[in-house]
Symmetry: C2
Subunit: 341 residues, 2 copies
C-alpha cells in the first residue's frame, strides 16, 4: 500500500506537504503549482489511496461503533429490507450510535466471510441466515468481538429467536378450526433446524386429530419455486376425487406463497373457496395485503427481532455481557383473504 511517506520519499518533499496537497489545501497553504503537480503525479503513479483508519484515528472523533450484519448474499430479496428497516428504526428509537455495515456471505461459507479484516474493522457481528455448518463453525471458534445470532439457537452466543413450534401449530390450528382435512406443505430444503420444527409441529397437530397424511412438496424458496410446486399439486389432485384432494396449504415463505397464488389463479382454483392458504410471513406486510388474494400469514416479528438484536448487542458491548441467553418472540396469525380467521 502506498502511503504519504512513500510519496514524500519519491518526490523529495516532506510528508506534511504531501498531506496538504492531497487534501486539496494547497491554495490555503501557498504550495507552489510545481510542487502540487509533482505530488499529484506521484500519487497517481504510485497508486496512492488514503488510509481512512489512520485519518479517523488522527481525527479524534468520538469512537463510533461499527456493527456488521452478515446476511445471505443470495435470494430472499424480500427479507433484508424488512430486517434492515427494523434495525434502522431501532437505531433511531433507542439512540444507539452505531454504524451499520452489511456483509453479504454465502450461506454455508460464513467462515470465508469472517476474515481477520472484518473482525478488526467491526465492534460486533449480527449473524443472520446461518446454516448448520455455519453454526458449527461459530460454536467451535472464539471471536474477539461480540456476536449476536439471529433466529438460531446456540449455547455459546446470545441469540434472538422466534418460537418455531408456535409457528407450525398456529397455522395448523387455523386450518383445523375450519374443519380442513387434506393439508399440504410447500417448503424448501430446510437449511436450519427451525424450519423442520415448524413443519413437524404443523404435521403433529394434524396427527393429533387423526389426520396422518400431511403431504410435503419441496421446491426452491422463490416465486418460481412456489409456482411450480402449486402446479404439481394441481396436477396430482386432478387425478383424485374432490374429497381427497388438498384443501389447505402451508407455504414456508412469502416467496413460495406468491408464486403458488399465481399458479392457482391461472388454473381457476379459487382461494380461499377451493383451497385455503397460509404463509409463514417473512415478507413486507404491505405486499401480503395487496396480493391477489391478500395473504394470510403467521407473521414473523422480524422488526421486533431486529430491535432485540441491537439491544442485545448494545448490552454485549457496553456491559461485557456475552452470556448465551436467548430472547424468544412469538409469531401471530394475521387473517386475510387467503384464509379467514
Amino acid at each position: 500500500m502506498t502511503t504519504i511517506k512513500d510519496i514524500a520519499k519519491y518526490t523529495e518533499f516532506s510528508a506534511s506537504t504531501v498531506s496538504i496537497v492531497l487534501r486539496g489545501l494547497s491554495e490555503k497553504r501557498n504550495i507552489s503549482k510545481e510542487t502540487q503537480q509533482k505530488i499529484q503525479d506521484a500519487a497517481m503513479k504510485l497508486g496512492y489511496t488514503p488510509n481512512m483508519q489512520s485519518k479517523l484515528l488522527r481525527s479524534n472523533l468520538p469512537n463510533m461503533h461499527i456493527i456488521t450484519l452478515f446476511w445471505d448474499a443470495n435470494a430472499r430479496q424480500y427479507i433484508l429490507p424488512r430486517f434492515f428497516k427494523g434495525l434502522q428504526d431501532s437505531l433511531i428509537r433507542n439512540g444507539y450510535r452505531y454504524e451499520l455495515q452489511i456483509m453479504p456471505y454465502n450461506v454455508g461459507h460464513l467462515k470465508d466471510a469472517i476474515t481477520k479484516r472484518t473482525l478488526m474493522g467491526s465492534n460486533g457481528f449480527i449473524i443472520c441466515n446461518a446454516s448448520e455448518e455455519d453454526m458449527a463453525y461459530l460454536e467451535s471458534n472464539d471471536f474477539p468481538i461480540p456476536l449476536v445470532i439471529y433466529n438460531r439457537y446456540s449455547h455459546k452466543y446470545p441469540t434472538i429467536n422466534m418460537n418455531d413450534y408456535d409457528i407450525g401449530s398456529t397455522a395448523a390450528d387455523v386450518f383445523i378450526g375450519h374443519g380442513l382435512q387434506h393439508p399440504v406443505i410447500i417448503t424448501s430444503k430446510a437449511d436450519f433446524n427451525g424450519m423442520s420444527i415448524r413443519e413437524n409441529m404443523f404435521r403433529y397437530r394434524f396427527n393429533e386429530i387423526g389426520i396422518k397424511d400431511v403431504k410435503t412438496v419441496i421446491t426452491d424458496d422463490t416465486l418460481m419455486g412456489g409456482y411450480k410446486a402449486a402446479l404439481k399439486i394441481i396436477a396430482s389432485s386432478n387425478k383424485k376425487s374432490q374429497e381427497s384432494s388438498p384443501d389447505c396449504i402451508l407455504c414456508a415463505s412469502d416467496n413460495i406463497a406468491f408464486g403458488a397464488l399465481k399458479a392457482f389463479h391461472e388454473n381457476g382454483i379459487h382461494i380461499p373457496d377451493r383451497l385455503k392458504l397460509i404463509s409463514i410471513g417473512n415478507g413486507p406486510s404491505e405486499q401480503e395485503e395487496f396480493s391477489i388474494p391478500s395473504l394470510s400469514v403467521v407473521n414473523l416479528p422480524m422488526e421486533e427481532m431486529a430491535d432485540a438484536c441491537l439491544s442485545r448487542m448494545s448490552k454485549a458491548i457496553n456491559d461485557f455481557d456475552l452470556s448465551p441467553d436467548s430472547k424468544e418472540f412469538k409469531a401471530t396469525f394475521v387473517a386475510r383473504e387467503s384464509c379467514p380467521e
Copy 2:
C-alpha cells in the same frame, strides 16, 4: 472515550498488560488472576470499548476501501435489494476489494447524514435517491473523497443515469401502437427531475398524435397509494361513457402498479382486456413476473447501473478521475400480461 491508557492509569498496570488481558491472552502470557480481574472490572466500570480504527491501523492489514452507499431510509423496500445485489455481483465479477457500508438517510436531509465522521470513515460515496435540495447541497459543497451520483445529473460529479426521455416515450409508444386513446398516469410527487421528464415525455408522445388529454393521478409511492389511485380512476370512469374512460395506465413504480392491479381485480376490471397497464419497473423482475396479471414494464437497468457506479468509483479512487462525466443506460420494454407487445 475510554482507552486502554485510561484503564492502565486507573489500575496502575501498563497499557500492554491491559491490552493482553482485554484481548483474552491472559493465559498465554501468564497474567495473574488478580490482575485480570482488576483490569476487567476497570474496563467495565469505565465503559471501555476498543477503537477499531487503531486496531486496524496497527494490524498492517492491506488498506481495504470502504464505499458508503447513501440510501433513502424510507419506503421503497423493493429497490434497495435490487441495487444492492447489483453492487455485490459487480464486486465479485470485477474483483473489486471494497467493503460496502449502507448509510440510510432521509431524502431532503442528506446534509445531516454526511458528517465529518462518515466522510472520514469512507473512501467514496455512492449517493442514491437524492432530492433536488440534496443535489443543491452536493453541488455547493466540496468533499474530500470521491462521490458518484446514481440516477441524477450533475455538473460537478460523475453520475450514472438512465435515459428518462426514453422511459416515457417507450411506454407511450407501446400504448399508441395498440391504438389506445385515453391514457392515465399514476405517479407520486416528483422528488427528482427525471420523474417529470418521464411523465412529460409520455404526454408529449400522445400530444403528437393529437391526444391532448393525459390524466394524472398523484398518490403515494406505495402499494396502498397505487390501490387508492386506481379506485379513484374507477370511480370517475364509472361516470363516463365506455369510450371516454381510460384504456391505458402508466404507473410510475412497481409499488404503485401492484397496488393498482389489486384494485382493478377487486372491481372486476380485467387487465389487459379492459385496460392495459405498464409500470416503470423498479422492482425485482421475479415479482413482476408473478403478479396477477404479470406486469409489463419499462425495465430500469438497476443492476447494470449499480455495476457502473462501482466501476466509476474505482476509476475515481485509482486514477484520481473526478471529472463530472455521465454514463447513461437505456430502459427496455418487457412485455408481459398487463400489456402485450
